[in-house]
């Protein structure tokens, strides 16, 4: 079993989930409450990664971050480094790819919150941000949790984007799914089987844990 690849995978999943929690919450809240006609365009953009194959995303990420692009040159002049074949590079791909898996459950959870409770809170003189944190978030917690778990699980299972922009570097961009593919191609079925079994066990345990948590949270 490739423990280093497991570490990379977990790091990628934790980072992706944290970033999408921070960025996804305000975006999802806006999607849930905004009454703007053009909103459907934003919704469509958020949902795009659900429909597009990872190769499309990988293609664009590689093209956009390479040294011939405007973005790639900007990043290089700011940081002195480049995004392709680095951990931040696959993290960028992963965040984009997982956007709908976080934002959509967040948004539907927010939309299900009774508006009257929110307005009551405002009328009682509580500020919007405090209302959001103390009324909206606790009420929509099961939905938020679902979004986080989906994002985490989906990142663990990510393959195409990482293969296209990662460059398969041990300890940096070689995730479990890429390591299994590598073992398969090197005809090392034993290693592939072991790593695959670890991944199945881990994913199963993580999902059981979340369903259990979800049940407790929603029965509170």
């Amino acid at each position: 079993v490739d423990w280093i690849a497991l570490q990379v995978t977990l790091k990628l999943a934790v980072c992706t989930t944290s970033i999408l929690f921070v960025l996804g919450l305000p975006l999802a809240y806006w999607l849930a409450v905004a009454r703007w006609r053009g909103k459907l365009l934003v919704e469509a953009v958020v949902a795009l990664p659900l429909v597009l194959p990872p190769t499309v995303l990988g293609f664009y990420v590689l093209a956009a971050t390479g040294p011939y692009s405007f973005l790639g040159r900007g990043y290089e002049s700011l940081t002195g480094g480049r995004l392709p074949f680095t951990f931040p590079g696959i993290l960028l791909g992963s965040v984009l790819f997982n956007l709908p898996f976080a934002v959509r459950p967040f948004a539907s959870a927010f939309a299900a919150v009774d508006r009257r409770l929110v307005e009551a809170s405002w009328c009682l003189g509580v500020s919007r941000s405090v209302t959001f944190l103390r009324v909206v978030v606790p009420l929509s917690w099961p939905g938020l949790l679902t979004g986080l778990v989906l994002t985490f699980a989906h990142t663990v299972g990510e393959f195409g984007v990482v293969l296209m922009v990662g460059g398969n570097i041990r300890g940096v961009t070689r995730t479990l799914s890429v390591a299994i593919y590598d073992d398969m191609q090197a005809l090392d079925y034993e290693a592939a089987g072991q790593t695959a079994a670890v991944l199945v066990a881990l994913s199963f345990a993580a999902l059981c844990l979340t369903y259990a948590l979800q049940r407790r949270v929603s029965s509170l």
């Binding site: 590689l62 093209a63 971050t65 390479g66 040294p67 011939y68 480094g81 480049r82 392709p84 074949f85 293969l163 922009v165 460059g167 398969n168 570097i169 593919y181 590598d182 398969m184 191609q185 090197a186 005809l187």
Partner: protein, 231 residues
Amino acid sequence: VAAAADLQFALDEVIRAFEKEHPDIRAKVTYGASGNFFAQLSNKAPFDIFFSADAGYPRKLVEEGLADKDAEFPYAVGQIVVWVPNSSKLDLDKLGIKAVTDPSVHKVAIANPRHAPYGRAAEAALKKLGVYEQVKDRLVLGENIAQAAQFVESGAADVGVIARSLTLAPAMRDKGRSWLVPADAYPPLKQAGVVLSWAKDREAANALRTFVTAGKGRSILKEHGFQLPGE
């Protein structure tokens, strides 16, 4: 037809010439990593003929009883080059293999040595020419040799150690410069093919084999940067 990724452009042209000579045959080619094809063919993937980038895989298929002994044939010897895009400032003629150790180089693309023959050749050459230790942390691994070429063609990697055949293809020919890695720096990339025992159209597969090993196919492969067996 299952074909190694280094044949991507050469074989397209071979097939065009082949179909002109045999108007009744249509060949459909799938390109990929040889190791991948081997795993698929071990599970009886529906291909009639397999052009590997390595003589080992066809040999193993014969040993496993998935092809007859006389169905195996050598067809080319691959070469590797150090390649940089036109925008690179590296002077390959002067630097040779030392180009990969230049401080301006962040990433060097090769195919994955664990399962791609060209990756093994590149790794062997870097070791033999004494630059491997300096360059090993800069290596990025393509899933097959075509992806390694794409990494450097797109500028995402600065230098590639890749198949000469790919750098002579129209998509790359005018976009960069290359330095031929001396043949004694790596074990020869003997490429072989095999006609599978479950070939649906054995006659057509054999016709393609003959075309590549004895017919016009030879000169086309040569133009595309392959050496020929026995030359």
